[in-house]
Symmetry: C2
Subunit: 385 residues, 2 copies
């Protein structure tokens, strides 16, 4: 039996056919009016997705690279920062900050838990020299979405830096309304574009911190980027990933056409249906069962089932690529990605495949029960995909 | 009259249709056996193009990013380096090295001149504390190809670092035979792939220097890369630019099929025909008139002609995108790129368009004279493209 390939991982994510097709266009030169037109539109549309008037720079890099740029551009060795660590990515920012000689106050939570913003405020008041606080919007490793509006309030006296790589364009993030100074994103998640681009938004307060920063940098230097972007048409300081930017242009247009608020609402349904589907088939959610727009749904692998085998079976026998757990959670949880180019039938198929794969592995499942729960979410929301 | 778009710039460069088409394939997950198979082959084939057994790491970054990685991974602030600066890119490595707190001995040459390796050896013996020497293989800004075999000999007592971004796969570079410790390359030149990937090769001596290096780094950290590459199948530490790597796989197969020595030879003919075409139409070459495999041919814009207008006319009226001069050479020279996916008729068309555009701008040209000179190069080489 043929199985189509269905990418249901939390990143990279599937891309719309129009975005795929744009990947096959001939390469054009980046210092031309033709590319300038594309790049100008990309920069404007990114602002409409970041919900900001701030500068946004796009790098040939993964989100990790763009995040490193924020560390290099905002700080000097020895600066104090607070980092929320409630998953693999929070953990990465702790390590990265330490690698750059920052003094890190780590606020650590069990995987799956949300950051407690009262504790964030408390930690900041205990340590008055802290310059900035970092938090992840959507922890890809667990599916947990942190309350960034609350985080921005709790950290209003310091720089607020948000890793929105896996959340931007899926989970609500109102950069300017909430006063988030620096937001880092990537092309390969809800922006429905192949991996290869990292973005960062920079507000006035961040620019002031940048002026004082003495960290060595070159490739990710914001001053170099600002100078190149100020040209007409805007340019990048180094050769941009032309083909991926041209694909991003198409993807952003689709997001704008759908409407960013509708995109958020769609992700609320995708998350709700995934959670109901998981519970409906008798599994337990990993992380809080909150009804918000999320990018990833993580579930415990049931007792007696090998999680790696489950992920493999879903892929090899059903063509559906979900993700396993990272680090300590390897083999213990599985993750369904639904940030970006996903509709109701992607979720329904994935829940159906999970049911079938579990049955195949000898775990008792009533076929269709999880699927039905997911269907009801879509049917009762007035959304027919 | 319809004009097809012909990208004749020194980067990004046109890509083969098979590489284009691969850009439209669905995105696959990067931590799967399917991607592992592609990535394993890419890593092996890169070694056959770098002509090395050394480790090669591929980053989501431009060549500038990969070069920054070399600076971060090899040095500590205050280390002394020698940098050859005979163009825009040599100049960039001077600035980058200084940005990272290195003490730079700059060996500066007029644009278009080649580095003098006797002077390199002399400079190193005058300054015994120098740890490394950097040189560009092909200066994209001028078309000049430096003698890297001689440079590696002159610098054999220190680390030899070569920027081969615009040269690798066009200009001969025998990494292991010549003993080049670190080679940096990019996807968007002779590797016939869209921009977005930067590579670096690292030999044993460079690994030893890496152990002593105290420069802060994370995204480009070689130790992190080595750890990820050691997995089975090999991985990257952060999300790779999946679609561009899949395209690189196709491009590398084509290079291997043609044979790297044949690729070098083809570039000898492309360079020779470009130079003869330029001289044939009565223009002067910018840079040395040497018969070697080159990536770019640069020519002086004749007296009385505006170089920017010439480049614009070639594009707007003929569809042929050559590049103008950079920095001080803006408007004074134009550059024909021929590194990567180029054949004889690309050169013939470009020379023809240059003749026609010059005539259109009121400069006296005998149509076909430059073209004839280029044709003779191909006809007399036994290569019929």
């Amino acid at each position: 039996m043929m199985n189509k390939y269905r990418l249901m991982s939390p990143g990279p994510t599937p891309i719309p056919p129009e975005v795929s097709a744009a990947g096959a266009l001939p390469i054009i030169h980046h210092r031309t009016p033709e590319f300038g037109e594309v790049f100008t539109r990309v920069n404007e549309n990114l602002k409409r997705v970041f919900l900001t008037e701030n500068d946004i720079f796009t790098y040939a890099a993964s989100g990790t690279g763009a995040f490193e740029g924020a560390v290099q551009n905002l700080f000097s060795p020895g600066d104090k920062v607070l980092v929320v660590n409630n998953g693999n990515f929070g953990n990465r920012w702790v390590k990265m900050s330490q690698a750059f000689g920052l003094e890190v106050t780590e606020l650590k939570y069990d995987w799956g838990q949300k950051a407690d913003n009262d504790e964030v405020a408390e930690a900041l008041s205990r340590e008055p020299g802290i310059k900035a606080a970092m938090c992840t919007l959507s922890e890809t490793s667990t599916g947990t979405v942190n309350d960034i509006e609350g985080f921005a309030k709790a950290t209003e006296n310091v720089l607020t830096i948000v890793d929105a790589v896996s959340g931007l364009g899926a989970c609500t993030l109102r950069t300017d309304d909430w006063g988030v100074d620096v937001v880092v994103a990537g092309s390969q998640k809800a922006l429905m574009t192949p991996p290869g681009l990292g973005m960062v938004s920079v507000n006035e307060r961040a620019w002031k911190a940048h002026e004082d920063s003495r960290m060595p940098r070159y490739y990710f230097d914001w001053t170099a980027a600002r100078k190149a972007y100020a040209k007409m048409p805007p340019q990048t300081p180094w050769t941009p990933a032309v083909s991926v930017i041209i694909q991003l242009d198409i993807a952003l247009k689709q997001i704008i056409d759908e409407g960013i608020e509708n995109v958020f609402e769609r992700h609320t349904l995708l998350g709700r249906a995934s959670r109901e589907g998981i519970k409906g088939m008798g599994l337990s959610l990993f992380g809080p069962d909150e009804d918000l727009n999320s990018a990833v749904t993580a579930a415990w692998v049931p007792e007696g089932v090998d999680g790696k085998q489950l992920v493999r079976a879903m892929f090899q026998e059903h063509g559906i690529q979900v993700a396993g757990g990272q680090a300590d959670m390897e083999g213990r949880i599985f993750r369904i990605g639904h940030c970006g180019y996903f509709d109701s039938y992607d979720i329904i198929s994935t829940i159906a495949a999970a049911e079938l794969a579990l049955e195949g592995l000898g775990h008792p499942v009533e076929l269709g029960k999880g699927v039905g729960a997911a269907q009801r979410v879509f049917a009762r929301s007035g959304v027919t995909a």
